[in-house]
Amino acid sequence: MGMTIAEKILARHTDQTVVRPGDLINAKVDMVLGNDITAPTAIKEFRRIGVETVFDKDRIALVPDHFTPNKDIQSAEQAKLLREFAREHDITYYFEVGRMGIEHALLPEMGLALPGEIVIGADSHTCTYGALGALATGVGSTDMAAAMALGEAWFKVPSTLKFVFNGKLNRWVSGKDLILYLIGKIGVDGALYRSMEFCGELIDALSMDSRLSMSNMAIEAGAKCGIIAPDQTTLDYVTERAKRDFTPVYADADAEYEKVTTFDGADIEPQVAFPHLPENTRGISDVGEVRIDQVVIGSCTNGRMEDLRTAASILKGNKVHKDLRVIIIPGTQNIVRQAMKEGLLDIFLEAEAIVSTPTCGPCLGGHMGILAQGERALATTNRNFVGRMGHPGSEVYLSNPAVAAASAITGKISAPEEVL
C-alpha cells in the first residue's frame, strides 16, 4: 500500500521508510516560524530548555507582523524580545519592519517554504505553504521552542481527505471561493486532525497566489494541512526564489485516502461566509441585502498581487461608498512596490481607500481598523469569529477581493457584476 503526500513527506523526515495514519513520530523540520505574538513565549520556553544555541540559524524565521509597526508599548516590548533573540542567535531570517511582510505572504515570496519540506510555524495559517507542496502546519509556542532547540517536532500521522475539483472556474471565482465552498460543505471541524489534498482541473488552473489563498484556510476546516501536489505552476514559482535545494513529493498511485470528495466548478459561485463561523457560507446570489461599514482587502489569505490587481480592476474609476471606509493591506514590501509600479496604489487612493503598510492588523482585531459595537465588515481575511475584528458586538463577513471591491463601491455586499 502506498502513501499520500503527507505520509510520504513525514516518512522522509524520519528514519522510517513508511509511516501510517495514527503513528506518533518524531520528524525533522526544514523551517520553524514564529511571529510577534507567539515567539515571545517560545523564546522564554527555549531559554528554559537550557541549550545554548538554536539547531540551525538558517532554518528559523522570525516575523514581527501582527502588531507591527508596534501599536502600543506592550506590543513593542514583545517585538523587542524577537529582535534581541534574533541578534543573540544571529538568526538569518529575522524580518525587521521595512523588510518584513505578513509571514505567510513573505515566506513563499522569499523561497523559504518549498515542495517536499516540513514547515512548522507558531501560527495557525502556516498551512498556507501546502499550496507549494510542503507539509506545513501550525503549532504552538512550546512546539516552536522545542523545534528551535532540536530541529524536530512530534506528529501524529494524519489520515488524508482528498478533494477533487472538476470542471471550469466561474467568473470571479478564486481559490478563496473554492476553500470557502469546501468549508461550507464539510464544516469547521470537517477535516479535524486530517491532511487535505486538493486536486483536479480547477486546481490545475489556479495561479500560485490563488492556491496559497486556498491552502491558507485549511485550518478553518480543522485540518493539519492542505496540500496541492507541485506542478509546473509551482516549480515556475519556487525555482527562481528557493533558498535551499528541495525535492518535490507526490502521492503514490496506490495511496490510501480516508475519503475522496468531488466538486464541480459549475456549482461554485463567489462565496460569502456570514458571522460567526467560516462554515456559514452562501453563494453571492443568496446573500441578500447586507449593508457594511468597513471593507478590508489584505491578510495572509488575500494580500498578494493577484488580489490587489483584482480589487484595482473593479475599483478603477470608482469611489468608495460614502458610508464606509476601505483599508487595503498589501502583504509584503515587494507587493507594495509592485503595486506602486503597476499604478494600483493610485487607483486605490483615487477611489478614496487607504493603503496600509504590511501588517496582520485588523484581521485579528489587533490594530489598523478595529470595529465598534454593532459595526459590520466585509473582509478578505480568514476568520469571522465573535469579536475577531474588534468589539464582541461587531460582525465580520468573509469574501474574495472581487466581491470586497464591488461592495466597497455599493456599500453593501455585492457581486462584481453589479458595478461593472
Binding site: 530548555i49 504552538g140 471541524d189 485579528l364
Partner: protein
C-alpha cells in the same frame, strides 16, 4: 481530580478563549484575567481553583495561540473535557501540561454546575451529581510521558539528559 463544571457549547474558538486585544502580553496572570471573556464575560470572576470546563465539539478552534490553554490553566481550571478538540489546541494543552479528555458522551451529558471527578490515567470521568460514568480514551504513553514531565519542555530536558529513551524525541 474533582471539580465544579462550567459548560460551553460548540466550536469555542481561541478568540473567545483569549481575545487578540489582550495578546500584547504573554504574562499568564494577565491573560488569565480575561479567560473565556468573549464566550462568557463573567467567567474569569466565577472560576475557582480546581474547576473543570466541559464543552462540545471542536473546542479551541482557530489560532495557534498557546495563550489560550495558558489562560485556562493559569485561571485554575484543572481539566477540559470536550466532544473533540481543535488540533493545535490539543497539542498545546499537552505541551503545557493542561489535562484534556475527549468524550462525546461526557460532553453531551454533563451540565453546568455538576460535580465531576476525573481519573486521568484511565480516562474515566465520574459524574458525582448524576452518578453516571463516562469513558475517554486515555493518553497514548508518549503523551502521558509529556504530561508526567510537566509538559514538552520538561520532556525535552529529560530527553536531553537521558539519551537512551525511545519514542518521539
Amino acid at each position: 481530580m474533582q471539580g465544579h463544571v462550567w459548560k460551553f457549547g460548540t466550536d469555542v474558538d481561541t478568540d473567545a478563549i483569549i481575545p487578540a486585544r489582550y495578546l500584547n502580553t504573554s504574562d499568564p496572570v494577565e491573560l488569565a484575567k480575561h479567560v473565556m471573556e468573549d464566550a462568557d464575560p463573567t467567567f474569569a470572576q466565577k472560576v475557582t481553583e480546581g474547576d473543570i470546563i466541559v464543552a462540545r465539539k471542536n473546542f479551541g478552534c482557530g489560532s495557534s495561540r498557546e495563550h489560550a490553554p495558558i489562560a485556562i490553566k493559569t485561571a485554575g481550571v484543572a481539566c477540559v473535557i470536550a466532544h473533540s478538540f481543535a488540533r493545535i489546541f490539543y497539542r498545546n494543552a499537552i505541551n503545557i501540561g493542561l489535562p484534556i479528555l475527549e468524550s462525546p458522551e461526557a460532553a453531551e451529558k454533563i451540565e453546568e454546575g455538576h460535580e465531576v471527578k476525573v481519573d486521568l490515567t484511565t480516562g474515566t470521568i465520574f459524574n458525582l451529581t448524576t452518578g453516571e460514568t463516562y469513558q475517554a480514551a486515555p493518553f497514548p504513553p508518549f503523551m502521558q510521558t509529556i504530561m508526567d514531565k510537566g509538559g514538552l519542555i520538561g520532556y525535552v530536558q529529560w530527553r536531553l539528559q537521558t539519551e537512551s529513551s525511545t519514542g518521539p524525541y
